[in-house]
Symmetry: C2
Subunit: 282 residues, 2 copies
């Protein structure tokens, strides 16, 4: 497994693979890898001839006062895990390599999809995401990009970006990976105190109950949202950022559930903001 | 020569060429081709194995009240000219193909480079240019993109965009092509009345005199700008939009000429706005 830090050498490597007719799968990450990331790598391994994993804590997607400086990092451990999974290349650039002096170009998707849910409390977050992913697509020239459904809004925005800007590649969404007790895997889970780690189970548990209520026939979005809100508030440590039920093309609010529906929550436990969601086909 | 109108088929064609190891040159145009465009095609023909020419009058780079509806179009004549030049593919999509319903993603370069010169009177122009060129790069997947120095600001912004977003390709600038009497070629020249056609010569003539004054030792930007302003105002039909002397990385104002310097003018003759420039290495 090669570890590359330069944009030019990474681009040259990727171009050489494609020139030999090999299919490249890219797994963009911010490192501090867990089973969720490794599942993405396994999906890429399955679907492509070459697997590139980028590890870059992207400053442009963090707002002032967010956890950019404290975001957990462990490149050595990440590389050991990726080697075991059979990744071919790790692209781990410096901030200076990605955003040199004078850097000033951004890719931005507009509309409801980038102004709701996580965008409310993180106003420039998705502009940072679409910009860095555009750069990674241009650097790694993949045939497929692999992203987790854990960040559902991010995945839907990236699908829209790829469609709108005609990137010559396919985005593959991969299901959320959970701990045995239901907690969605996240690099930020390490921030949780033991008490909050237990309290955070309210998210997966209440989402699971919503899924059951929908299976039992409930179609009214307001009823389900109210119930979900109430269920999360039962947990005193939980401070709700949002509880949303939306369709999946533009994240528009819906009154009655039909088609593909995203039920997403963001909740703070002390300073740690967690997100979770379920997708239902009605 | 093939004429393609679909994004997918164009992307497939381009990918097939690259998979065979062939180098693609792209010449993005808005059609109504003249010798300036054909010179770009010849440069692409020289440097690449396959030449793609896009013909698309891009609505997102026109402001309200600008000449989008009236912009001259003649696809049949354009294709005949390109066939003669040995282009391999013309990509001529509809507006709906490029901007389907719900389209809402933009690529934008910020800073002085996109807020001066032509950006002053055309505030969203360059956002439209960087967005459509990003799309064309993703659709035609070229190794090289060819652009004329006539649109110097556009060319410098696109070079910056390619650098910032790491597009895996090279931008080649090609010298301005002029009529025998000095008028820079432009599709908009057809709008000029015979009187204004004659009056417009003031641009190339006065820029040429500025070049001579620099060769003779003048280094003071304010002196040269004042002189250029005065020279153009001698022509009663000329209504100056701007006269600028700037460095070429960010289009910053300069006091003393040194390094690569752009001397650029935009002037209206009735409703027709013409631009012209010279680049000097001091």
């Amino acid at each position: 497994m090669q570890i590359l830090t330069g944009i030019r050498e990474t681009q040259d490597w990727a171009k050489a693979q494609r020139a030999s007719g090999l299919k490249i799968g890219l797994v963009p990450t911010m490192g501090f890898l867990h089973e969720g990331h490794l599942t993405l790598v396994r999906n890429a391994r399955e679907a492509c001839d070459r697997v590139m994993v980028s590890i870059f804590v992207n400053p442009t997607q963090f707002g002032p006062g967010e956890d950019y400086d404290d975001y957990p990092r462990d490149l050595e451990r990440d590389c050991a895990l990726l080697e075991k999974e059979g990744a071919d290349v790790v692209f781990a650039p410096s901030v200076k390599e990605m955003y040199p002096d004078g850097y000033n170009t951004y890719v931005e998707a507009f509309g409801e999809i980038t102004s709701k849910l996580c965008a409310r409390s993180r106003p420039h977050h998705f502009r940072g995401v679409t910009t860095v992913v555009s750069k990674l697509f241009n650097i790694c020239v993949p045939d497929m990009g692999f992203f987790g459904w854990k960040d559902a809004q991010q995945l839907l925005i990236l699908k829209k970006m790829v469609r709108d800007l005609n990137f010559p590649l396919e985005i593959r969404g991969v299901d959320i990976v959970r701990e045995a007790d239901g907690l969605a895997l996240s690099s930020r889970n390490v921030y949780l105190s033991p008490e909050n780690r237990a309290a955070a189970l309210v998210l997966s548990r209440s989402l699971q109950t919503v899924r059951e209520r929908i299976a039992a026939g409930e179609r009214n979005a307001a009823v389900l949202k109210d119930w979900l809100h109430g269920a999360i508030e039962q947990e005193p440590a939980a401070e709700i950022d949002y509880v949303e039920i939306v369709e999946t093309s533009e994240l528009r609010d819906i009154e009655q559930l039909s088609g593909q529906v995203l039920i997403a929550v963001a909740v703070k436990f002390d300073k740690t903001r967690l997100i979770d969601n379920i997708m239902v086909e009605v």
